[in-house]
């Protein structure tokens, strides 16, 4: 089964078993990160201050909350793909690799969920719950 032979690699049976989709999604999310994180940096630089009221007021706007939520999806998806390659490159023990990839998935999905929930709470309550 594709044990390092040329045809096996072409069929996507290398060490990661698949790759083209991973590769292209890493590029899509890279462009997403590029646009959205630059937007975040420029937005922060233009804000009068980063105190609690300013930040909550800023995050409660729909045109801020939505790009922020999209940014979290893009960032965590991209970092999940990137760290997965790191694990595949350096963790050779199958069991350890399984656990590491599982932990990575928990981190990526959990982190994104937490961040998006925080944005949603601010957007829907306007920070009034403070």
């Amino acid at each position: 089964m594709g044990n390092g032979t040329s045809i096996g690699r072409v069929r996507g049976l290398g060490s990661a078993k698949s790759g083209a989709h991973h590769w292209i999604v890493q590029r899509f999310t890279a462009v997403g990160n590029l646009l959205l994180v630059l937007w975040l940096i420029f937005s922060i630089l233009q804000m009068p201050g980063l105190d609690y009221e300013s930040v909550v007021g800023w995050l409660s706007q729909p045109l801020v909350a939505v790009p922020m939520a999209l940014m979290l999806v893009s960032i965590f998806w991209h970092l999940k793909l990137g760290l997965q390659v790191l694990i595949e490159d350096y963790v050779h023990d199958d069991g350890l690799k399984f656990v590491a990839i599982m932990a990575l998935n928990f981190y990526a999905i959990g982190g994104a969920a937490l961040g998006i929930f925080a944005i949603a709470k601010i957007a829907f309550t306007g920070g009034a719950a403070a």
Binding site: R27, A30, L34, V37, I41, L45, L50, D51, Y52, V55, V56, L59, M68, L72, I75, F76, L79, G82, L83, L86, G111, L114, G115, F117, A118, I119, K121, I122, G127, A129, A130
Partner: protein
């Protein structure tokens, strides 16, 4: 080779420290004024500034070497001289952008 290693290291740093910092900032803002104040105390401590400046540099280094990857993916930029020029220029550019951003921030605070 150095630029490839730098791409991976900055990526890992952003993935762990950067993403956690971002989520902490958002969760603190969603939790309330007190939690946000705690975040601000940590973020504006000397270590906080070192981390934030480091993350800014890591982001731009990763962004620029990522764009270099896009060009290489298209099959361009493999000529020795071109390849070498960009691999020297990009890290310098990342430092210049990081310095400009933080000089802007510190200039405003004074």
């Amino acid at each position: 080779m150095a630029i490839s290693i730098l791409h991976r290291i900055t990526g890992d740093g952003l993935a762990i420290v950067g993403a956690m910092g971002l989520v902490w900032w958002l969760v603190a803002a969603a939790t309330g004024a007190e939690a946000y104040a705690t975040f601000l105390i940590c973020a504006t401590s000397p270590i906080g500034y070192v981390v934030m400046i480091g993350l800014t540099w890591a982001f731009f280094q990763h962004l620029l070497s990522g764009l270099r990857h896009f060009v290489l993916d298209m099959g361009a930029g493999y000529e020795l001289q071109t390849n070498k020029t960009w691999s020297v220029l990009l890290p310098l550019l990342a430092i210049v952008i990081t310095a400009s951003i933080w000089l802007m921030i510190f200039a405003r605070e004074i």
